[in-house]
Amino acid sequence: MNLNPVFIVEAKRTPQAKAGMELKDVQAPYLGHYLIRHIMDKLGLPNDVIDEVIFGCVGNPVDYPNIARVIGLEAGLHKKVPGCSVHRNCAAGMEALAQASIRIAAQRDHLIFAGGVESMSNIPLLFNKKMTKLFTDLFKAKTPAQKLSAMLTFRPSFLVPIVAIQKALTDPFANVNMGMTAEILARDFGITRMEQDEFANRSHHRAAQATQNGRFKDEIVPLIYGKKLDHILYEDKGFRADSTVEGLGKMKPFFDKKAGTVTVGNACPITDGGSCLLLASEEALKKYNLEPLAKIINWHFHGLEPERMGAGPILAMDGAFKRSGLKLSDMDLFEINEAFSAQVITVLRGMKEKKVADFFGIDTVWGEINEEILNPNGGGIALGHPVGSTGSRIIVTLLHELMKRKGRYGMASLCIGGGQGGAMIIENLKR
């Protein structure tokens, strides 16, 4: 099979805000649909030329079983344009891009919208099993006596809800909370609290600086929000320009409360947001007279022990380098999602230290990632981590920063709950 090149024509994202804040009333599809509409309007494309809409979403809302389909329709795409939703936990957005890439590379499709959305504000509380059984019994009951007997089984404990978001952030296999996985890495490699807080502090300051300088302007499409839908959000919310290492140092460890190092301050907040890219084949570029911004070079997903999921990017980047034949030194920019400070620090050490690389079974020491080219505009700790979107959001941010720096290759990577890592390399064509 001949593989064809895959181009990125547009890449946009929503501003991001902590769950429960500005975007709390925005249902997940509305974090994606307007990005598509914006891109369609901007390019002046007819609404029926898109071959597929692929979106990732982790806490898929019950109202929208296939959220990508809803996003496509809400965006005003022709009803004949199909849509499918994908899931790879925190890398759902990257998975959408990966699937879109394969289809275009294989010349099955020519224009695909791929991205991710997550409204963590809207992840629901669920009834527990006991209450669900009571409902089922009530539903089955035919006579009043049966109904009464079903009702009499009620106990107050039935009303204790299942917090879906808590469940989602706990590994079902290893039964470890995500925060604990970062704690484990910190223990494994002796990462100090100070190191973590300094890293987090830098993220906040970089994000604040970038926002102030309008560094995100090209990638963010303003979003309507508010109860009455009469406000417009232009910028990310949630980073703290006044953050200090001392201030972060005062926070109590959240996961290992007695002897831990991971705090809410050196971890990413739960967040609402969406991101979307338009991918195209060479044929489509010609047919619709589109100018590509970048090319997708390659990507790689890799599994590891769930309780050390934070180190996933080491394995994923290793795989992506090997698949593409490129080296760390070829990269002009890195965008590594910051789920936890400890986790990113582990990744950086895994790339340059043989001991850590060996620990994860990697035979190559790729080298040091210069901090100047790593997340120069801050990362997940400051900007947040809307899980379904981040996988594609970091590509959007990577691409726009790469264009501004006139660099060539860029690497985006992230750790994935459940014990995986994902990495994708793009090449900027607007140098």
Binding site: Q27, H33, D41
Partner: protein
């Protein structure tokens, strides 16, 4: 026997009566022939029932989307004398009674429009089944034409759905959709339209459902004489409050229903027939029916016929997100045009969004739209600070600040971003469209599209042409205006176009009266009792004094002394009085914008002379110059015909519909008298402002009317 208008078939001993036979029209009406054929069909069916050859009747329609849209309005217009009307109504009653009295079950299957006489026919049936389609609407809209339902509606409807519901339906003439109709008991069942006929066969012989206990109790209470009296008293009060006593039909309807509720069918229908006849002969009903035809007239485009190749107008954009911009964005969003809303700063964009949102919120509150639809429609607006996306736009409506230099710059910019086929329009209310068109590279795709504030409430849109505009663009915008459920009038370029030009003397003459020593309350009261929705003082508060001065000055520059603005308003603007928007107007308002008392502070600034003048004279002082200005506008060929003026003043200014429009009113008064009164004012008050137009003088000389008849 063969029929031309109805399809009569007998299948399995069931008589099927289909309307819309041999017709390609979208709407079926009960015209004379249909009524006669109906009579003849039942002439056949009745004996067959006796012989047990027919066991049921099913009414349906062969026209998709319409059962019966009511009695042909031309039929009513063709009846001139009292005797003629009465006998026609009685003949109708006889036919409907014959149907009702048939001793076999009858079912009406309704998909689509079922109004007036159509619904009254359905009411003679044992059961009414309707389709769940969105097109299915039931109504008795006669009141809107100054009439009452004359085919048994006032008698049968209260008996079917209870007096309160029936009053609500008949007094408002409002549309009821399937779900609500089922809830109020007007229809028995709702089915998918494809299943209607099949279900009708089953329903024919199913016993009707028993009343629920609560419904039975309600019915019993309603039958109490005292309760009924109370209901009618309350209804009468509410009618008087809403119509301010201007409209005869609602009161007549109340009387007829109240009298009918206490007697048998024969005398009930006799009262209905008498009431109908009286209303049909009234001036008011004639005026209201006149307006009905005027509105129908606006739907026809008189220019070149439609070419199929025109690009459909799908996506819109609004430049300038002020009050008007936001209102227009709402209109576009409500009509699935996912508008771009552009302004130069964020605050303005949010203001525009909140404008749209507040209109949508009202619909949500009234349950005209769901929260989900609100989300979808409001989110379909893309606020933007740049021109990205304008490439995909089919229609741009400009609503930026009223400055021609600015507008010209905007258009110049805009033309670089929109596609070849995009239509560009301006919502200006005071700047010459001709002059603006000079700023465009391709003026043929440009015209004026003047909306009135608030956009969601005001039905009128002035389409303003200029010398270089293409016919195709005018035609497209006419069709588009109708498609977004607005009422278009096509006018030529000129000062204030049509409606604002006619409004100007209404406002400036009020200020003159104010200077002469009248109080604003006196003036407003006089105009309210003429039937205007608000007096000139209140209207000025709404418009804003500065805007009014700006507008009238533009008109003065163009038209000269006749439209000279008065000093007082200038002085008020200078003193910081701008009207409602800065809470410094003639009146005080509460936070919801409701009018409270008079603003004494402003009152002190007005003349302290006191003068006495009758209400009628005030009305003359304000209405006559409007009529006069309208004839100047006709003379200047701003509007083609009096009907354009009347549609404009009714739907743009709220001129009282029961008067039939400004020029229809002039006709009714008599043009000779109008001219004489004008001349009197010219001699006594001002020889410039009241100078009659050549046009009017010639009409009088030639003994013409605005509307021939």
């Amino acid at each position: 026997m063969n029929f031309e208008k109805i399809l009569y078939e007998l299948k399995d001993q069931i008589a099927y009566i289909g309307f819309g036979f041999n017709s390609s029209k979208k709407m079926n009406v009960l015209d004379k022939q249909t009524l006669m054929e109906l009579r003849d069909v039942f002439g056949i069916i009745s004996p067959a029932v006796e012989e047990k050859k027919v066991v049921g009747v099913i009414f349906y329609s062969l026209t998709p989307g319409c059962f019966l849209a009511g009695v042909d309005i031309n039929l009513i217009a063709s009846l001139k004398s009292e005797a003629e009307i009465l006998s026609t109504v009685e003949e109708g009653h006889t036919i409907f009674n014959m149907i009702e009295d048939l001793k076999i079950p009858k079912v009406a299957c309704i998909d689509g429009v079922c109004m007036g006489g159509g619904l009254e026919l359905a009411l003679t049936c044992d059961k009414i089944l309707v389709s769940e389609s969105d097109n299915t609407v039931l109504a008795l809209p006669e009141v809107k034409l100054g009439l009452l339902p004359g085919l048994g509606g006032t008698y049968r409807l209260p008996r079917r759905i209870g007096i309160p519901n029936a009053l609500d339906l008949i007094l408002t003439g409002s549309n009821v959709r399937a779900k609500k109709a089922k809830r109020m008991g007007l229809v028995n069942e709702v089915f998918a339209k494809e299943r209607l006929l099949e279900m009708a066969k089953l329903q024919l012989f199913l016993r009707p459902k028993k009343l629920k206990r609560s419904e039975a109790i309600e019915k019993m209470i309603m039958n109490q004489l005292l309760v009924r009296k109370f209901i009618f008293k309350k209804a009468r009060e509410s009618v008087l409050e809403k119509t301010k006593g201007f409209y005869q039909a609602p009161l007549k309807i109340l009387n007829v229903i109240e009298a009918g509720s206490a007697c048998n069918r024969k005398s009930g229908l006799a009262k209905e027939a008498a009431g109908f006849t009286e209303l049909a002969l009234s001036e008011q009903s004639k005026n209201l029916r006149h307006i009905f035809f005027l509105v129908e007239g606006t739907k026809k485009y008189k220019g070149e016929p439609v070419s199929d190749r025109t690009k459909k107008i799908k996506k819109g954009a609004v430049l300038g997100a002020g009050t008007m911009g936001g209102g227009i964005a709402w209109l576009l969003a409500d009509n699935q045009m996912s508008p771009l809303l552009k302004d130069i700063n964020k605050e303005a964009l949010e203001l525009g969004l909140s404008q749209a949102s507040s209109v949508f919120s009202k619909s949500v509150k009234k349950k005209h739209m769901t929260e989900e639809e609100f989300q979808r429609k409001q989110r379909s607006i893309s606020p933007t600070l740049d021109y990205s996306g304008f490439k995909s736009v089919d229609l741009v409506i400009e609503a930026v600040v009223e400055r021609i230099d600015l507008k010209k710059i905007v258009f110049k910019e805009l033309e670089n971003y929109v596609s070849e086929n995009a239509i560009i329009t301006s919502n200006t209310s005071s700047i010459s469209i001709e002059k603006m068109s000079e700023g465009l590279k391709r003026p043929e795709r440009f015209l004026g599209l003047h909306f009135f504030n608030p956009v969601n409430m005001m039905p009128l849109v002035e389409i303003i042409t200029h010398s270089k505009v293409s016919d195709e663009v005018v035609r497209q915008m006419h069709a588009w205006t109708l498609a977004v459920k607005k009422t278009p009038i096509i006018v030529n370029d000129g000062p204030g176009f049509l409606v604002n030009r006619i409004m100007t003397p209404f406002l400036s003459e009020a200020i003159c009266l104010l200077e002469e020593g009248l109080s604003i309350e006196q003036i407003d009261r006089a105009m309210l009792s003429f039937g205007m929705p608000m007096g000139p003082g209140r209207l000025l508060d709404e418009i804003g004094f500065d805007v009014a001065v700006h507008g009238s000055e533009a008109i003065y520059e163009w038209l000269g002394e006749r439209c000279k603005t008065t000093k007082l308003l200038h002085q008020l603007v200078k003193a910081g009085y701008l009207g409602k928007k800065n809470s410094k107007g003639f009146y005080h308002y509460n936070e919801q914008g409701k009018q409270l008392g008079i603003n004494e502070e402003l009152k002190k600034l007005c003349s302290n002379k006191s003068c006495k003048i009758s209400e009628e004279s005030i009305q003359k002082r304000l209405i006559l110059p409007m009529i006069n200005e309208a004839t100047y506008a006709l003379q200047d060929k701003i509007a083609e015909h009096a009907s354009t003026v009347d549609v404009g003043v009714i739907f743009g200014l709220g001129f009282p519909p029961f008067r039939g429009g400004l020029l229809k009113y002039a006709d009714n008064v008599g043009l000779v008298k109008i001219l004489a009164d004008l001349k009197e004012l010219e001699a006594k008050v001002c020889n410039k402002r009241f100078k009659p137009s050549q046009y009017l003088q010639e009409m009088v000389a030639q003994k013409k009317n605005f509307y021939n008849q």
